[in-house]
Structures are given as structure tokens and as C-alpha cells.
């Protein structure tokens, strides 16, 4: 009966490893900001801002977790968000639809676009990367065709409420919506056929097929979910800004994929962590907010996001390899010649990055526009 205590520490940690990565980074940010800018970073209004920003990405990160776990990727969510929101905006502004009807229609349109993605990938056997990248262009193109250069603004209160409404003394409404989708995603992942088959398909597609799972159908389901959630993201964005245009939401794809991957969901399929995705979304929003608080130029965000993605994927791949080789603990793995080589390479990269950041810091202009 002492199996629980006899289990080695590393094995007991196994289920939590996914969450440890982002948690450590979140702690690091908190510590750093606690030293650098405690007054401005930890203000209630700023924490509220971080949550408000994170909430936007939560539904999409939830859906993307399923897509990535099935060894897929969806690069079209930004355009789906923009196109479905623009159509919703036209329905409301031009055709006088009630907002209570237009919002569900937008979500259904998003699901429909996801369905098209899924069918292109499974029926025409277009690789997911190319298929969704191409459809990203198609959806963005439609958005531009429909909206031209128009900025549609000033929507009914219902939309701005779900986009940036605040429950007095509590969190913003979009945060509740985002958290609810993440909880729903967790239940979906761990307690339903869909979630279980998602992991099985990502883990071993041939085995899944052999046990009678309809692999293609479940892949399509994941893309439909992703499309619908992208539309929710678009609606939240529209409400938050109280405006929408064809070029909105350009960075949704990579931001959401980054959050999911940082959260420990494996790009190689089969390893999913909904809690990790939640932490990943939170981490990215905290990081971006920290950069803003530190008055580092907006453009550095993209550098920071990229570095976080590369380092976390490298770290997870490395950890996975260790437990496959069974080469003792993580530290023992570093002692091998390969580990040494890798350490030197990472040191070089980090050095390079620090150098770049220093250059950026020295030559950065005044963040406040002159005049």
C-alpha cells in the first residue's frame, strides 16, 4: 500500500510537468516585475488589464489545444475571427439584425469556416499547415472584399458588455466567458469521447483507426470547434474595441499557438494540457503587459513571443527524450557530451539575445510619439 510513497519523485511529477514550465515563467515574471516596477505592474487596474487581454485568447487556446493534440495546426483563426465579426457587424449595422441573433450567427459562421478547413484537410488530403494557411488568405480576402477599408464601430451595449464589461469588485465579463470555455474544454478533453479520441489520434493514428475510431471525422470536429472559438474570439475583440475592420486580429494564430505550446501541449501530438494552455495564455499576456509596463517598444513583443516558443518547445522535446532514454534524472542528461553541446549552444543564443536587447534598449526611441 506504500506505492504512493515508493514512487520516485519524477514519476509523481509527470502529470504536472506541463504546468510547471509556464508556472515557473509566470513566477519569474512576477519576481522580476516585483523588483523592477512593482507599483505599476501590481496595480489592480493593471491586473485587470492582463486578465482582459488573456480572456480574448482563452476560447481559441482551448480549441487549438484539441487541434494541436491531433497533430494538426490551424493558422486561419485570425481571419476567421475577423471575417465572422465583420459579417456580424454588417448584420447589425446594415441589416438591422438584433445583436442576440447576430452573435450566434457569427459563431455558426466561424464553425462553418472551421468545417471547410477540416474538410479540405481530411477529404482533399491537403496538409493542415498549407491548407489552413491558404484558407487564412481566403477568409482574410473575403473580409477585405466585404468591408473594404471600412471600420465598423459603435455596437449595441450587449456586445461591449461581453467584450469589456466589468462585474463590480470582481473580474471582467470576458474573463468569465474565457474561463468558462476553458473549463468546458477541460471536461471535453478528459470526460468525453471527443477528447479521448483526440489524444488517441494524436498519439497513434493507425492504432486509433484500427480500434474503429473515425479519425477523419474527429479531425473535422476539432477544426469546427476551432472555427467556432475563433468567432467567439472575434466577437470578444469587437466588443472590447467597439470596432472591427478587415485587418483586425492579425496575430491571433501565432499568439494562440504559442500559448498552447508553451502550456505543454505537444506539437507532435498526443500530449494535451488544458490547464497548461490556460497558464500559457496568462503567461503571454503577463509578458506583453510587462514589456509595456517597462516601456519597451511594442515591436519587441514579437521577438519575446518567438523566443518563448522556441525555448519551451526545445525544453519539452528534451525532457521527453530523457524519459524515453531513461538516462537517469534531468541533470544526469546534461552531463553527456550531447547535453554539453546543447548547453553551450543555448548559452550562445541567450548571450546573443541579451546583446540584441541591449542594442534595442540603447537605440530605442522615446516610446511616446514626439510632438
Amino acid at each position: 500500500m506504500n506505492t504512493a510513497t515508493a514512487k520516485p519523485f519524477s514519476e509523481r511529477m509527470e502529470p504536472y510537468i506541463a504546468i510547471i514550465g509556464p508556472m515557473v515563467m509566470i513566477l519569474a515574471i512576477l519576481l522580476f516585475m516585483g523588483v523592477a516596477e512593482p507599483a505599476r505592474y501590481f496595480r489592480a487596474t493593471n491586473l485587470n488589464l492582463i486578465l482582459l487581454d488573456a480572456a480574448l485568447y482563452m476560447p481559441m487556446a482551448m480549441a487549438m489545444t484539441f487541434v494541436i493534440t491531433q497533430r494538426g495546426i490551424d493558422l486561419s483563426i485570425g481571419s476567421i475571427a475577423a471575417l465572422s465579426s465583420i459579417m456580424m457587424a454588417f448584420l447589425i449595422k446594415q441589416y438591422g439584425f438584433s445583436v442576440y441573433i447576430a452573435v450566434p450567427i457569427a459563431i455558426m459562421l466561424g464553425a462553418l469556416m472551421g468545417l471547410i478547413n477540416g474538410l479540405i484537410i481530411t477529404r482533399f488530403n491537403v496538409p493542415d499547415l498549407i491548407g489552413t494557411l491558404a484558407m487564412d488568405l481566403v477568409y482574410r480576402g473575403f473580409a477585405l472584399v466585404i468591408a473594404k477599408g471600412l471600420v465598423l464601430a459603435r455596437f449595441p451595449d450587449f456586445l461591449t458588455e461581453i467584450g469589456r464589461g466589468q462585474i463590480p469588485g470582481f473580474v471582467p465579463i470576458p474573463v468569465l466567458i474565457g474561463a468558462a470555455t476553458m473549463i468546458a474544454g477541460y471536461v471535453l478533453l478528459t470526460r468525453t469521447y471527443f477528447g479521448r479520441y483526440t489524444i488517441a489520434i494524436g498519439s497513434n493514428p493507425e492504432a486509433a483507426e484500427l480500434t474503429g475510431i473515425s479519425v477523419k471525422r474527429h479531425k473535422v470536429y476539432a477544426y469546427v470547434l476551432c472555427g467556432a472559438c475563433a468567432a467567439i474570439g472575434g466577437i470578444l475583440l469587437t466588443g472590447k474595441l467597439n470596432a472591427i475592420q478587415a485587418t483586425s486580429a492579425p496575430y491571433f494564430n501565432l499568439h494562440v499557438i504559442a500559448a498552447v505550446v508553451v502550456g505543454g501541449t505537444s506539437l507532435f501530438g498526443g500530449r494535451a494540457s488544458m490547464l497548461g494552455s490556460f497558464a500559457g495564455v496568462l503567461l503571454l499576456s503577463m509578458m506583453i503587459n510587462a514589456l509595456v509596463t517597462l516601456r519597451i517598444e511594442f515591436f519587441w513583443q514579437s521577438v519575446a513571443s518567438g523566443v518563448v516558443i522556441v525555448s519551451s518547445v526545445a525544453l519539452y522535446t528534451w525532457m521527453q527524450k530523457k524519459d524515453r532514454d531513461g538516462a537517469g534524472g534531468l541533470l544526469a542528461g546534461l552531463q553527456t557530451p550531447d547535453g554539453q553541446k546543447m548547453l553551450r549552444f543555448s548559452a550562445l543564443l541567450i548571450g546573443l539575445l541579451i546583446g540584441l536587447l541591449a542594442i534595442g534598449g540603447i537605440f530605442a526611441g522615446d516610446p511616446n510619439p514626439s510632438g
Binding site: 479521448r196 494524436g202 498519439s203 492504432a207
Partner: protein, 252 residues
């Protein structure tokens, strides 16, 4: 073994275009028996069991289960009739735990507030029960992903998945010991014994004559798409079977 065989294949021929993979092959296996199929590469072993498990349809010939003629359009129909296979690759989803793998594609569910959700607890206890009662295997942890188990334990999970179905009569095992070390091989052979003792017919394909002679009751030898003989393991020797595989007794 005087009674009718549990499963019988008669005059099976399978052609792929102009290539004849199987030529008029007969095969029979009794309940509570391990029948080994041996033969060189390309002898038709895999094709033969793929015909038996419904993956391929025979060009000619008939299959009988319990004396009744059966035909399968797909592997799923064969499983329904009581013939299942455990593949060399085991077909396990390594990231899922043993219970999830055992019930993959066949999950147990319960209703909560009218919504059908997976019954994780029951699947877990059933897995524990089947592994213990039918295979005599106890896993240290049922929560760890299957990839963390040893080769023999993974084998046990794959076999447990097949024998969990009450209707299973014939279990085909394709090279179960090919990728295993000596210890894990011994464990897998014990699993095969356990399955056999429950009155199932086990059809074992193996390259290892040592394994075949340790666990099987009869040996069916394939060469170039034809059955060149069936011998009782107890009356035969590795030399004899090896001779049949390479066709030495013909040349002599």
C-alpha cells in the same frame, strides 16, 4: 481435440493481381490450443491471418467458425464474430493510460445530468480486474501513460483489450515477441498460456522457433504460399520444422 475445430480455413487462395500469395491453404485450430504459424518471409503467414481476421477477403476458399461458414467484409466484422488480433506494434495510444487504451473505441459511459460522459472509474476498475483475473498481471500504476510501461506490460494491455470482449473465440498474435528481451518474452509466453487456458484458440505467428516450441501445441508450416505440413509440437523438433520451412526434406 477429437471434436470439430473451433476455427477452420479450407482451400484458401489469395491473389493480388498476378501474384498468388496463398495457394489452397487449409488451417484449423481447436479451442484451448495454441497453433503456431511459421515460415520464411513471404511464405504467406501475414496474408493468411489477414484473411482470417477480415482485413483481406480470400479469392477462393471458405472459413468456418464452430462449423458455421462465415464471411467478413471488414476487420470489424471479424471482431464481432469473435476473431481478433494483437499486432506486433500493439496498436496502443502511448499517451493514454492502460484503461483508456483497453476501452479505446469502446468506452464505458455514464449519464450525469442527462449528458453522457466517460466513466473513468469503472473503466479503471474493469481494467484492473481483467488484467488480474484473465492474465494474472498486476500493473504498478494504472495512471501512468502506457509509454512508461515495459514491453511485456504493454503486451498485456493489448491482449487484455482483445480478451475483454466476452465473445472472443480466436486470438491471433502477430510476432508478439519480436521486439522483446528474454525476460519480457517469457512473460508474454505466459500471457499466451493464460489465454489458452481460458478455452480460446490462439494462433501465434513467430519467427522464433524457441518460442514456438515452448508454447504451441501444433505447428503449421507455410512455404511459398502453401502449407507444407502441420506437426504436433511434442512429436517434432526444431530441426524438423526448420527443414520444412526451408524445404530441405524435398531436396534430400
Amino acid at each position: 481435440m477429437a471434436d470439430t475445430p473451433l476455427v477452420q480455413m479450407r482451400g484458401i487462395t489469395k491473389r493480388f493481381g498476378g501474384v498468388t500469395a496463398l495457394q489452397n491453404v487449409d488451417l484449423s485450430a481447436h479451442a484451448g490450443e495454441v497453433l503456431a504459424i511459421v515460415g520464411d518471409n513471404g511464405a504467406g503467414k501475414s496474408t493468411l491471418i489477414k484473411v482470417l481476421t477480415g482485413v483481406y477477403q480470400p479469392t477462393e476458399g471458405e472459413i468456418f467458425l464452430d462449423g458455421q461458414k462465415i464471411e467478413f467484409a471488414s476487420h470489424a466484422e471479424a471482431i464481432e464474430a469473435g476473431i481478433d488480433a494483437v499486432y506486433q506494434t500493439l496498436a496502443l495510444a502511448d499517451h493514454l493510460d492502460p484503461a483508456a487504451n483497453m476501452f479505446l473505441g469502446n468506452e464505458l459511459t455514464k449519464k450525469v445530468l442527462g449528458i453522457e460522459i466517460l466513466d473513468l472509474k469503472r473503466m479503471r476498475s474493469e481494467t484492473e480486474r481483467v488484467l488480474m483475473e484473465r492474465l494474472g498481471v498486476k500493473l504498478k500504476s494504472l495512471d501512468a501513460p502506457t509509454e512508461s510501461l515495459s514491453g511485456g506490460q504493454r503486451q498485456a494491455v493489448a491482449i487484455a483489450r482483445a480478451v475483454y470482449s466476452e465473445g472472443l473465440r480466436v486470438l491471433v498474435m502477430d510476432e508478439p515477441t519480436a521486439a522483446l528481451g528474454p525476460q519480457e518474452t517469457a512473460r508474454t509466453l505466459k500471457l499466451i498460456q493464460a489465454v489458452k487456458e481460458q478455452g480460446l484458440a490462439v494462433i501465434l505467428i513467430s519467427h522464433s522457433l524457441d518460442d514456438v516450441f515452448e508454447v504451441s501445441d501444433r505447428v503449421h508450416v507455410q512455404r511459398r504460399g502453401q502449407c507444407v505440413g502441420v506437426v504436433k509440437t511434442s512429436d517434432s523438433s526444431t530441426q524438423e520444422v526448420l527443414g520444412m520451412i526451408v524445404g530441405a526434406e524435398e531436396a534430400a
